[in-house]
C-alpha cells in the first residue's frame, strides 16, 4: 500500500511495473478480492462512463430539469464536425465527452463519480479521447482507470476531494491530476513523468473555488470539467516533453489541502459566494426555487 505519490512511484519503479499494477496489488491486499473481481467491477464502471458520454452526445443531448444546462456536448460535436476548430477537432473530443458526462449528471442520469459526481466528466473525457487517439484496448482503458484511482486515493487521504471541504480544486483539480498521471502512462511515460504531470495539473487549478449557482451542480460545474480535461492533457504532454514541476506532487497536494482549509465557507459549496452571488446567479436561484424543485415533485 502507498500513502504518497512518492511511495506510489517508488514502489512501481522498484517492482519495475506500471502504476496501475501497484494499484491492483494494493487493492487485492486491501479488499482480499481476486484480480478478476476487480477487473470486473472496473469494467462495469467503464461501461457506465461510456453510456453517459453516448447519451450526452446523441440527438439533442440531455437537459437538466432546471433547463440551466444541457445540449452543449451536441453543440461541440456539431462544431467539431463542421468547422476548423481553434484547439483541434480531436482535442475537442475530450471536452465534448467531459461536457456530455456532466450534462448527464446534472440531468440526474446515471454516472460514475471520478472522484466526485461534480467532477465526473474530467477522467472519462481524457480516457475516451485517448482511447481513440492512442488506440487503447479495453484492458488498457481499465488500467488507465486504476491509475487514476491510485492518484485519487493519495489525494483523498492526504487532502480532500469534497467541494464543501476544499473547493473545486479538490474536485476538478483532483480529477485533472488523476487523469494527467494516467494519460502519461497510457502514452508510454514513466512513473516519474506521471508524478510531474500530477504536480503540474493540480498546480494549475489551485485555488479554484466551489461556487455553484443556486446550489445546483450545473453552473459552473459542467464547463469546469471541460477545463479539467484540457488541463490534464496539457500537463501530461508537458511531462512527456520532459518538463518538470519544481514543487513535488505530494507538496502540491499538501498545498491544495492548506488552501482548502483557508477557503471561506462562502466558496465551499454553499452557493453563497463567487458566481452564485452575482446578480444573475441570485436571479437564477430565485427563479428556480420560487417554484418547487422539479425532481422533488
Amino acid at each position: 500500500m502507498f500513502n504518497t505519490i512518492k511511495e506510489l512511484v517508488t514502489q512501481s519503479q522498484l517492482q519495475k511495473q506500471p502504476l496501475w499494477q501497484t494499484m491492483l496489488d494494493s487493492e487485492q491486499q486491501a479488499t482480499k478480492q481476486q484480480a478478476s473481481e476487480i477487473w470486473q467491477q472496473m469494467q462495469a464502471r467503464y461501461q457506465v462512463m461510456k453510456t453517459a458520454i453516448e447519451r450526452g452526445s446523441q440527438g439533442k443531448g440531455v437537459h437538466s430539469p432546471t433547463g440551466l444546462t444541457g445540449g452543449e456536448a451536441v453543440k461541440l460535436k456539431n462544431y467539431r464536425e463542421t468547422h476548423q476548430t481553434l484547439s483541434g477537432s480531436t482535442f475537442l473530443m475530450a471536452v465534448q465527452a467531459a461536457v456530455a458526462t456532466n450534462e448527464v449528471n446534472a440531468s440526474m442520469g446515471v454516472i460514475c463519480a471520478t472522484p466526485t459526481a461534480g467532477s465526473s466528466g474530467t477522467v472519462p473525457g481524457v480516457l475516451f479521447y485517448l482511447r481513440d487517439r492512442l488506440q487503447l484496448s479495453q484492458q488498457q482503458c481499465l488500467q488507465f482507470l486504476l491509475t487514476t484511482g491510485a492518484v485519487g486515493l493519495v489525494i483523498a487521504n492526504n487532502a480532500m476531494i469534497a467541494g464543501a471541504a476544499g473547493g473545486c480544486q479538490a474536485e476538478v483539480g483532483s480529477a485533472a491530476a488523476m487523469a494527467a498521471a494516467a494519460a502519461v502512462e497510457a502514452a508510454g511515460g514513466t512513473p516519474q513523468q506521471s508524478s510531474e504531470a500530477i504536480a503540474i495539473a493540480l498546480s494549475n487549478l489551485l485555488g479554484l473555488v466551489c461556487d455553484p449557482v443556486a446550489g445546483l451542480v450545473e453552473i459552473p460545474c459542467v464547463k469546469r470539467n471541460a477545463i479539467g480535461t484540457t488541463d490534464a492533457l496539457v500537463a501530461a504532454d508537458m511531462a512527456l516533453a520532459g518538463c518538470t514541476s519544481k514543487i513535488p506532487a505530494d507538496e502540491v497536494i499538501a498545498a491544495m489541502a492548506d488552501i482548502g482549509r483557508q477557503m471561506p465557507k462562502q466558496l465551499r459549496e454553499t452557493g453563497l459566494g463567487g458566481l452564485a452571488a452575482t446578480p444573475t446567479g441570485k436571479k437564477i436561484k430565485m427563479q428556480i426555487f420560487g417554484k418547487k424543485f422539479p425532481a422533488d415533485l
Partner: protein, 219 residues
C-alpha cells in the same frame, strides 16, 4: 485508519447525479439509518447543517437521504420519487435547515431521527466526498454511541445477553477486528466492533455466527 481504502472509493460510486457528496453520500447516511431501524418508521426528521443546509435543494439531498432511509441504492431510478413513496407509505417526512454549526464539525452534516412507537434512532453522519461517509454519532437501542466515524463498523445490542467470555476471545483473535468498544447506558448495552476493512461474504457469516444481532455498516 485511512478514510479511503479502495480504488472504487475514487472510481465510483455508480450513481444518479448530481452530487457524490450531497446526493450519493446523503443516501449512504440514510442507508445507515435504514439498516439500524427495525421495521418501518412513522416519522423521519432530517436536520441539515452548513453546506448541506445551504444547498440540499439544489443537490437533490432531500430525495437521496429519504431514498437511503428506505433502503434504496444510489443508482436506483426510484430514488427520484422517494419522498412521495415515503409519504404514500404513511411516513411523516420533515426537513430542518439548522443555522448552527455541525455538531460533528463537518460542513456536510445530516442528522436523521427515526421514530416508531417506542423505537427511536438517531444517526449523525457527514459526507466527506466522492460518496464516502463517516458516522461519528449514533443513538441506538437507547445508548448514545460516540464513534471514531470511519466505516466499516459492526454493532449490535446486547440487551438480553451478558458479554460472554467467548465473545472477547473471538474479538481478540478475528483478524478483521481492529478494536471494539462496549457502550452502556442504564440497562442497555451496545457492542461496537471497528473493522479493518469491509468483510467478504464468508467473513460476514462468521461474524454473524458468533454475534447474531450484529449489523454490519460497510465503508
Amino acid at each position: 485508519m485511512k478514510q479511503y481504502q479502495s480504488v472504487f472509493d475514487i472510481i465510483g460510486p455508480v450513481m444518479i447525479g448530481p452530487s457524490s457528496s450531497h446526493t450519493a453520500g446523503a443516501l449512504a447516511i440514510g442507508q445507515v439509518a435504514y439498516k439500524l431501524f427495525t421495521g418501518r418508521p412513522q416519522k423521519i426528521t432530517i436536520h441539515y447543517y452548513e453546506s448541506f443546509a445551504a444547498t440540499h435543494q439544489g443537490h437533490g439531498t432531500d430525495f437521496a437521504i429519504i431514498a437511503g432511509s428506505l433502503g434504496l441504492n444510489c443508482n436506483d431510478q426510484r430514488i427520484l420519487t422517494s419522498i412521495k413513496a415515503a409519504q404514500a407509505a404513511g411516513i411523516k417526512v420533515t426537513f430542518i435547515e439548522e443555522k448552527i454549526p455541525s455538531p460533528i464539525g463537518h460542513p456536510n452534516t445530516a442528522l436523521i431521527k427515526m421514530v416508531s412507537g417506542k423505537q427511536r434512532l438517531i444517526v449523525c453522519g457527514c459526507s466527506i466526498g466522492g460518496g464516502k461517509i463517516e458516522v461519528p454519532q449514533i443513538e441506538y437501542a437507547n445508548c448514545q454511541l460516540k464513534l471514531g466515524g470511519i466505516l466499516p463498523i459492526a454493532l449490535g445490542s446486547l440487551q438480553d445477553v451478558k458479554f460472554p467470555s467467548e465473545y472477547q476471545k473471538v474479538l481478540k483473535t478475528n483478524s478483521l477486528v481492529h478494536s471494539y468498544a462496549l457502550f452502556q447506558q442504564d440497562a442497555n448495552q451496545v457492542l461496537v466492533i471497528y473493522l479493518k476493512r469491509n468483510p467478504t461474504i464468508t467473513e460476514q457469516h462468521q461474524l454473524l455466527k458468533t454475534f447474531p444481532k450484529l449489523i454490519i455498516l460497510e465503508g
